[in-house]
Amino acid sequence: MDSPLFRRRAFLGACAGAGGLLFMGGALAWLRGSAPAVDGLLALTPQEHRTLVALCRALFPATPEFPHNADDADLARRFDLFLADEPPWNREDLKKALFLLEFSPVLAFRVSTFSRLDEPARLLHFASWQRSRVLLLRQAAAGFLRILSLMFYDDRAAWPAIGYEGPIHRAVTP
């Protein structure tokens, strides 16, 4: 993906602002905690992976009519694979967006990081980005939602719940 998800300077500025605030409060380490090691990650750090898993679970939870979920689809792993093949500028932008997502609840005066929020709170927080007056946050939300949705609904196991039987060309190829 060569899409400029974020204006670099604005992005760096926002990250620096967020990071600076957190460091000043001496809260970063405490809030972040340590993320468990994850085998075989190509592009994400364990911390970024944890944020991403939290986001994926909020966006694609199991529901009674549609039990297939983000974990079943191994969505965070797919995203990591995707990221590994991205040009460096997009990879960096998306990683910075994950950083910002993780700590942005603090900027909204919550004593929690994104991955520590419960699922409904994470979804609400994500929706606040989607509707934010800050373009950067809307862009990040739209970017994540589009990429992750494409990956989730490309998964065969998601199809029965949406009434799609999959590509039919094998049946009709002479």
């Binding site: 993906m1 060569d2 899409s3 400029p4 998800l5 204006r7 909020a58 966006l59 694609f60 939870p61 529901t63 009519e65 549609f66 797919r78 995707f82 093949d85 991205e86 040009p87 500028w89 979804l123 994500f126 929706a127 989607q130 509707r131 373009l135 809307r138 862009q139 939300a141 739209a142 970017g143 939602l145 589009r146 990429i147 992750l148 949705s149 494409l150 990956m151 989730f152 609904y153 490309d154 998601a158 199809w159 719940a161 949406i162 009434g163 799609y164 999959g166 590509p167 039919i168 060309h169 094998r170 009709v172 190829t173």
Partner: protein, 509 residues
């Protein structure tokens, strides 16, 4: 001669040719055919791979990854518009909707009158348009090939007493798998990949795939050197640099990529990268009680033509046009405005959903910028007037669906705009279209190297030669001063053949 996949070579060798064409799509393949037929030694560079038949698996993930520029995720810099462009041997026609809509005579007349492009008169273009239609095996879809989505749109259009049409297409032997936008597994599209490319190969043209041109050197000297990256087999990473030396370079990489290449090379005047038309498209979905199953059958066959015209003094083609559309689950889901249980519930409506795209001719005020690392920035020029037309188009689409019996119509914005009755249309009027809240699409990019009789008005002469160069030609839609048509494949094949024939004469063949 065959197609050479450069990614398979240990070390790609430098190449000499008379003509180097960048891009193998509607323009590049057509030009390669004409130039090779005239006996010129032609090499075509294509950064995509070669995908046909069962390699086109109908799966969103791998197909958007492999068949689209930037894996289908290219956007304008503010994320307002997803900018779709093919990246595969054969270019856009491999993944396009196969609608054949030639340039209207009114638009050609506008180009002559408003832009001084006297070579592009309806009379001059006619034989090349006819040739393009023959090459495309143009035909009309049979009534039984219209799926429910297209029929519902027609029903609504008729109920409102509006004009509409079943669009001609270039499918032969279509079995209605519904995956046109990620390639036809049955090779049923009579497109560049199956017509122009085999013909050009037959005449000796060489096609190199996984070969990305990044710089042209010596644009004002006799022999130009094109710097080319060998890509890895999946086309994501640049591996080794090699060079193509040629006296003539033809830009046919799709409007944006052709202009990008000039900007990266520091070639051309101040008009390069400007006057870009993205022709934004607004998606509108509708929910029906009955199953629609829009994902089967020809995705795009019916259009509401009531609100378009071709003789606008300022723009030629103007107004808006509404066309049925469908997609596989992955791509459809990218239009959905929310996640969580609510998002999943929306996707569960998939078999009952119908959809259209509202095509909006624009003012060609978008512009391009290239960063030092080659990253393309696309700055769109959607202004208040265009957004006003987007609202009108959204309302017209909603009216058509409601007239066809839709339970609910939705513009998938953040927040979603839901219309259940005429009175709800005021909600569309209230939309502010803030960037990154409405999933606009672009599939027909034009401009960026505008043709103009004078260097002060454009970046290339009407014969395609880029001003300030000796022998660098733009033969794709980068030269178009305004939107040629709602669908660009046929106009591009038309003008590329005309300009390539002129080039043959210029090169003394």
């Amino acid at each position: 001669m065959t197609v050479l996949d450069v990614s398979a070579l240990a070390t790609p060798p430098d190449v000499d040719a008379a003509v180097c064409i960048v891009g193998s799509g509607s323009a590049g393949a057509t030009a390669a055919w004409v130039l090779a037929e005239a006996g010129l030694d032609v090499v075509v560079l294509e950064e995509g791979g070669d995908f046909t038949g069962p390699q086109l698996t109908g799966r969103d993930g791998p197909m958007y990854d492999q068949l689209y520029m930037d894996r289908g995720a290219r956007t304008t810099s503010d994320l307002s518009i997803t900018v779709l462009q093919g990246r595969v041997l054969g270019g856009g026609p491999v993944i396009n909707a196969s609608d054949v809509v030639p340039m209207h005579d009114g638009t050609a007349r506008h180009w002559v009158k408003r832009w001084g492009l006297t070579d592009f008169s309806p009379e001059a273009l006619a034989p090349y348009r006819d040739r393009a239609l023959r090459d495309l095996s143009v035909n009309a879809p049979a009534e039984e090939q219209l799926n429910t989505n297209n029929r519902l749109l027609r029903e609504g259009t008729r109920a409102l007493g509006w004009r509409g049409e079943v669009m001609a297409h270039n499918r032969v032997g279509c079995a209605g798998t519904g995956t046109c936008l990620i390639g036809c597994p049955l090779n049923a599209k009579r497109n560049t990949r199956f017509v122009a490319i085999p013909a050009a190969l037959e005449k000796g043209a060489r096609f190199l795939t996984r070969a990305r041109a990044v710089r042209i050197e010596g644009a004002d000297s006799d022999v130009k050197t094109v710097h080319v990256w060998q890509l890895d087999p999946r086309g994501h990473h640049e591996r080794a640099l090699f060079h193509v030396r040629a006296r003539t370079v033809v830009l046919a990489a799709n409007a944006l990529a052709s202009a990008q290449l000039l900007l990266r090379s520091g070639i051309g005047n101040a008009h390069v990268g400007r006057h870009v038309s993205l022709q934004p498209q607004l998606p509108v979905t509708a929910l029906f009680k009955q199953e629609v199953r829009f994902f089967r059958g020809i995705p795009q066959a019916y259009a509401i033509t009531q609100h378009e015209r071709f003789d606008d003094q300022q723009h030629g083609w103007w107004g808006f046009r509404i066309e049925a559309i469908a997609g596989t689950p992955g791509i459809v889901s990218t239009l959905m405005p929310m996640g969580g249980a609510e998002g999943k519930a929306l996707m569960r409506r998939y078999p009952h959903v119908a959809a259209v795209l509202c095509l909006l001719p624009d003012d060609a005020t978008s512009r391009l910028e290239v960063e030092s690392n080659g990253r393309l920035r696309i700055h769109h020029g959607m202004d208040a007037e265009l957004l006003g037309r987007a609202r009108e188009a959204g309302k017209a689409a909603a009216r058509a669906f409601l007239a066809a019996g839709a339970v609910e119509v939705m513009i998938p914005a953040v927040p979603p705009v839901v219309i259940r009755k005429e009175a709800d249309l005021a909600r569309v009027d209230a939309m502010d279209f803030a960037p990154a809240t409405v999933p606009f699409l672009s599939a027909h990019q034009q401009g960026g190297i505008r043709y103009a009789p004078s260097e002060s008005d454009g970046a290339a002469a009407p014969d395609g030669r880029v001003y300030g160069t000796r022998g660098v030609y733009a033969l794709d839609s980068a030269g178009y001063p305004s939107s040629a048509s709602s669908h660009t494949m046929t106009p591009i094949m038309t003008t590329a053949r005309m300009l390539a024939e002129q080039l043959v004469t210029l090169l003394g063949r």
